[in-house]
Symmetry: D2
Subunit: 495 residues, 4 copies
Amino acid sequence: MGFHDECGVVGIYGAENSARLAYFGLAALQHRGQESAGIAVSDGKKINLRKDLGLVSEVFDSSHFENLNGSIALGHVRYATAGGRTIENAQPFLNTFKFGTIALAHNGQLVNHGEIRTRLEDLGSTFSSTSDSEVILKLIVRKLVDGKKNDTDSLCSDGLEKAVVDAAGEIKGSFSLCIMTEDCLIGVRDPNGIRPLCLGRIVPKENCPGVLGGDPLGEGGAVKDAGGLNPGGRLSPTYIIASESCAIDAVNGEFVRDIEPGEIVVIKNGELRTYSCEKKNKATCVFEYVYFARPDSVIDGIAVQDARYRMGEVLARESSVDADVVVGVPDSGIGAALGYSRATGIPYVTGIVKNKYIGRTFIAPTQSERESMVFVKLNALKTDLDGKRVVVIDDSIVRGTTSRRLVQILRRAGAREVHFRVSSPPVKFPCHLGIDTPSKSELISSTHELEEIRKEIGADSLAFISIDGMMSALRMCRAESDGFCGGCFCGRYPV
Amino acid sequence: MGFHDECGVVGIYGAENSARLAYFGLAALQHRGQESAGIAVSDGKKINLRKDLGLVSEVFDSSHFENLNGSIALGHVRYATAGGRTIENAQPFLNTFKFGTIALAHNGQLVNHGEIRTRLEDLGSTFSSTSDSEVILKLIVRKLVDGKKNDTDSLCSDGLEKAVVDAAGEIKGSFSLCIMTEDCLIGVRDPNGIRPLCLGRIVPKENCPGVLGGDPLGEGGAVKDAGGLNPGGRLSPTYIIASESCAIDAVNGEFVRDIEPGEIVVIKNGELRTYSCEKKNKATCVFEYVYFARPDSVIDGIAVQDARYRMGEVLARESSVDADVVVGVPDSGIGAALGYSRATGIPYVTGIVKNKYIGRTFIAPTQSERESMVFVKLNALKTDLDGKRVVVIDDSIVRGTTSRRLVQILRRAGAREVHFRVSSPPVKFPCHLGIDTPSKSELISSTHELEEIRKEIGADSLAFISIDGMMSALRMCRAESDGFCGGCFCGRYPV
Amino acid sequence: MGFHDECGVVGIYGAENSARLAYFGLAALQHRGQESAGIAVSDGKKINLRKDLGLVSEVFDSSHFENLNGSIALGHVRYATAGGRTIENAQPFLNTFKFGTIALAHNGQLVNHGEIRTRLEDLGSTFSSTSDSEVILKLIVRKLVDGKKNDTDSLCSDGLEKAVVDAAGEIKGSFSLCIMTEDCLIGVRDPNGIRPLCLGRIVPKENCPGVLGGDPLGEGGAVKDAGGLNPGGRLSPTYIIASESCAIDAVNGEFVRDIEPGEIVVIKNGELRTYSCEKKNKATCVFEYVYFARPDSVIDGIAVQDARYRMGEVLARESSVDADVVVGVPDSGIGAALGYSRATGIPYVTGIVKNKYIGRTFIAPTQSERESMVFVKLNALKTDLDGKRVVVIDDSIVRGTTSRRLVQILRRAGAREVHFRVSSPPVKFPCHLGIDTPSKSELISSTHELEEIRKEIGADSLAFISIDGMMSALRMCRAESDGFCGGCFCGRYPV
Amino acid sequence: MGFHDECGVVGIYGAENSARLAYFGLAALQHRGQESAGIAVSDGKKINLRKDLGLVSEVFDSSHFENLNGSIALGHVRYATAGGRTIENAQPFLNTFKFGTIALAHNGQLVNHGEIRTRLEDLGSTFSSTSDSEVILKLIVRKLVDGKKNDTDSLCSDGLEKAVVDAAGEIKGSFSLCIMTEDCLIGVRDPNGIRPLCLGRIVPKENCPGVLGGDPLGEGGAVKDAGGLNPGGRLSPTYIIASESCAIDAVNGEFVRDIEPGEIVVIKNGELRTYSCEKKNKATCVFEYVYFARPDSVIDGIAVQDARYRMGEVLARESSVDADVVVGVPDSGIGAALGYSRATGIPYVTGIVKNKYIGRTFIAPTQSERESMVFVKLNALKTDLDGKRVVVIDDSIVRGTTSRRLVQILRRAGAREVHFRVSSPPVKFPCHLGIDTPSKSELISSTHELEEIRKEIGADSLAFISIDGMMSALRMCRAESDGFCGGCFCGRYPV
């Protein structure tokens, strides 16, 4: 469908160098998308925007920040889906309309954008991209304009907030949104909370001079008296909304809390208000824990790395094997490997290294070169593996191709036995909520039995964590035991 | 002096797609230098060259390979020393002279290039860079021309080989060289073997179809009948010479052996010959094991990761501490942390993650932003550290600035105690043999006592591995116990 | 107000390589705008777009044309107004809406876009730029959607045509538009015909082999059976709509006729239909003849170069002077200089040359360097001028700065007397219809008397053509004597 | 042979902003070469260099000038010969050697560089390009080193000057050189004076405030007390050496004189000295006058435009024709057309315009598109030509292809008769002295009779100026009647 949108969003409110804080935050979220990057900034009157294809560090140079002044900023990084590399789909989207300007950044994927788009088109709306995110932006504007048709007032916050709440109630699917106008920043998370979104703040710390102190990120980086009046001399904090808590850490901020499923957080005049659209069962995407999020992030009360340790432990219990060493496939398989080692006592070794310089622009013109690229990307350590019985833990098997190569690399390094363990259940159904999975016919677990897959990838044994096992692993991390979407395993989606 | 030259070199002999193999090899060596990259290729008659500032993936796109045809290739990546980012110093250096064309790539640093340059200038040599590597190239050419002054022959291999052997005997310092002419490839390692250099080959494997089989890297990637005559129908192998064995793995080759200190390896007409210049005591740079080389490389019989495990083990014995978890500073501190954990039984946890997208072009215009960059580069995992007594292992302390930030980050994540352990001895002397160290006055271990350093970085305890301990760690990895340069610890250099 | 829009537009209908024909046409119109360039192409189902800042030759390389397939194309080049260099304002604008996709390219400037924008915003429209051109696009869409609200049909041409006709009747100002949908191309010219727009076709010429023959511009460049049915086997021509006839020549087409003021030309199903919105008095901008258009273009029946010759002739009669040579300031002053020479018998000499390589990216960091840039841009020929009494003809004097430098350059080359003649009347009022003129206070003719200006620029004598003289010159070129806008001379505008 | 070197050189001595003056000078010489551009600058101690492929305005941006400080500068633009677009051949060439650093920029082509290169290679010289210009640089260095072998002095000017004089006496061919060391600037012109080179100065004019005054080009642009001691308070002038006098005009300098054939001009310590190598018969390339040089330049006492007028006049006398209008092919045919008109009384009209935006990067992927490019590059004015008998003057016919297209374009614009006149004699022999001509078999005048060529290009009549006529035209411009190379017409070369 072309709407896969594994992305990262960040919003900053109340810092003079908000664009650069957004830049730092986006850098921390770069793993969520490498196709395009963009930052919109408001100086209170006007919103300026810079976006382009490329990594955060490629899209922005010093000169761009000269035009990105203001205390409210919005940033977005976008995932590189095949074929869709066009500047038109880069975010944030920015639109000027009757009451001002609005910019929006979206992580997620709608399931009913088609019908909403049709409805908006019936009312005369136009679109400049194929993105479902633009549909959300136009829907909000439409609601704003309709809600104030006979009104001569300028944009009052009530109107905007109502429009966003109403829009959030209409769209279906996964959506974590950051929205800004000239004077406010809004965070929205879908009623199931499928994609993560969290809130932080950067507080001046007078008693802690130096880098952790009052001005963590440059000239006036910390604090801005956003609302004019600060009774009692209290300083307003700088707020940050981000896809993952690691972005809050990157600007030396403090994690406050997750945005709740169905919650709308509005920051305006230096104050934060919260609204709810219809709340549904929480259904956070388990793949955020399995491989998508950074290990140093905490999502909905579960530390990502902790979840990975636990999955490894459960996997160890479910499918132990007599072996000499445990290795994890970098980067996201390492946590589960450590957990597996911890649970079994089999020593964890590095075993595999990944070349971090192989990016989008690395070339391999011929087919056989593309196939051989795996040797450039991954290598195994003979010192860890030679003559050993090896348990290797990967986060998932999708098509099986990479897994087969991986087994070859391990054997090339002398592994006597290769026992393949997967820290997520078999992926049998494509995701319609934002993860870039191939069609059902390309999912090896959808078309092959376990033993067939084992043969295909050339391992001595193969086991996936069970769905129950995965849930129990997550339960170990958080008291509240439910609330995950595992649609790709079982075919039942929350939306 | 501006000649710091921590670089990577790779040479390919006997593959039709030699330039692309060199490209893959350079990608594997990218960690050794990110300033510039270059590849020279010979088609037997003419050597073409492409080099520029930037990463391997930035310097080359598909169009460049259209002009890089031939079966012998030479590649180089160069380290980004401050201020010296100029295209003039990019390698390989290429010169045409009386008997043909010669290209040279160098990893290391000479100590007597000044006097040789003066001598060559007296004879009329000209230079287009400030690089000591260009001095080596001109010296070889001078010896070649002098050696054959009254000769009407074209370049005979004896002449070239003699010239290289003579030149290698004259230059002092650290040098691992790859040299090519129109029809041969040469590898040279300095008499002390300070920088690594090794030999591999890519052998067609008829009995192993698929990716590991006969044509590992594309159309004709594997084998070329280089010498015309192959008695008995035996196929000539493709040879590869590289700074580290990980580059051999990247082209799916087989490691053959290290080039010996003082050895000159010449590959010509499909055959490999070896020569020696004066051999001295082996003195491999210990920092190759500590942090410079990739963990999957094997240097002089010691697997780099194994060395790191052992250093961690020795460190554990030398300076154990009561703690709850062990963490390693990525990427090179992880091996020692695993070793420390293994020796003490204190659990290893991930603890710290590093943002792999922060490169040369990431901007931080203000001073306080540059200081805050550490929060973007590194983050700690509360789930691993909160309330814990933490042992953190880094590979070295140079100026101390980064270490101080690191301790702050760990404490921010809740570490109750931070015990800083360093897997190399205190660096008290600048390196004159290729490692980019600051002047003595900036080396914190040169100007401060241990307890002062501990206070400065804010750790609860601090310990370095001892020089003897480091040597014993290396001894555990290899029978032969001597042969390392630790000049930066003790001030005694092999040259 | 920042809406200055001296631009060039081109539309191609019915050629397989329509995007490349548009590219060639834009190259011919490059003099009308160097800030940005863009081409949209329809393959019948989908419209693809490429636009960016820069010259036509900078914005497009071969790879872009791989994604620009289809037989209908729309191109735009935009003028570089100071400060407004943003990708957001680059054209064509492209919007998808209820009934399909529409792209628009605009040359001109509206005077009532503010009120229309407000009206559209009241109805919920959003904008992604500050351009008045985007307002036109949204207005058309709005009319389309409103006109077919209760309709279940897909976009019928009647609807589109009616919408465009209605929109053209509502907007006020200068506008030459090229519009395309998936299956049609439309040209619109404002009721006063202020900016030029003309129609051409590319006809296969079977009886003329060679370059002028059937396939003038490549594989299928000439002819496409656009409508399916071609009674009598007649081939459909390829149509071209362009700002100036020189773009028709550039694709080896035939000029058909000017689009009439207030005319809407619709090309669809291989047929051309024409509509009218309210027609007003023709008021073509005289500056198109004076300097804006290319000398090889013909606008509204007047060959631009012919107009310039005539202006020179009239100027000669109005303000003759005893002199030795006549020179014209390149490029647009040359025609008038030739006319002046012809009328007076004073020999025409080259006298001044202009450096054609000085573009947007030429740098002159300091103020005095910027002032000295005139010596790099223009130079005088001593051989033509030394010791001579010189008549120099320029097309206009705006601020007077350039004229003063020019006189200095002529004197430096030895001119004994410099008689400055201007082929347009004094510019006393800013233009609100698309020409980039400064505010009234900066217009030297608005603030200074003739003699003051003469002193200011340092000429021995100074004369402008009179308004009547200019009109009589244009009358010489075309029977129909009226129909020009000279608002900048007299302050009376047609709109 | 690949050594075609129609280039432009400029040298600046004694201005603080010498690099920017060189930049302005190169911009004025851009017509001499568009492949690459480079500037070397000395601050008295060190020479910095920036060069790259591209136009002057593309190669340099503001940031580059931050590293180009100093009062002596050397600039070069290089012609785009097919296939040879490599950074290796970009100039200036810069070499460091025994006594310092030397940079060289060359316009011309040697005929004996092969033997000199061999000789230098025998002595051990190495080369990094295939350029004959690098051979000159190495030859000078060799002479310098040899001349001072037993000398312990640093580089004394005598040595350098002697070396340059000796080298200039050894190399054969065409060469206009600009050479610089840390503290001096040298201009060299070959003994035949085949390529132009001239000297100018920029004098502070205290009595002329404003732009023409003391500081014409910025902070300290004008004057620098180069020699320390200026007895009597006289200010030292800034010197400029350039390929053409138009570059002197571009920096608002004063033309002093041509460098004489065989002359070496050395500027050092604020003083100018002159030397001679063996002087031969002057043999300036006539094509400099015909089309290569800018019309506003004066070469060897002949104003280029004056020469073109005269050629037109002679052509008129030699081959008059009954016609209605005369047109010149831009840019270099215009002068001759004006002369033809003047001599015959047939009115000169513009007739043809050239699109100045069509450069190196303009794309035309298919063959027929490339052929049609002529319509994009050139257009004819119907208003000037329709129904007329046209004399069209071009500067030369080489292969004939362009001429044929030109005739077609004229006829397309309605020309009733096309009489083709050429302001240079038939080119029958390739040039070995720097003009980029094809091989003899591709020269249409070498393989076809006049009438055959006329038919081939489709003209109604065709005539070339005679060799004698051309010489008489040049004689009209300068008393001294001899001294031109016309080897391409008659096959007799001065070298």
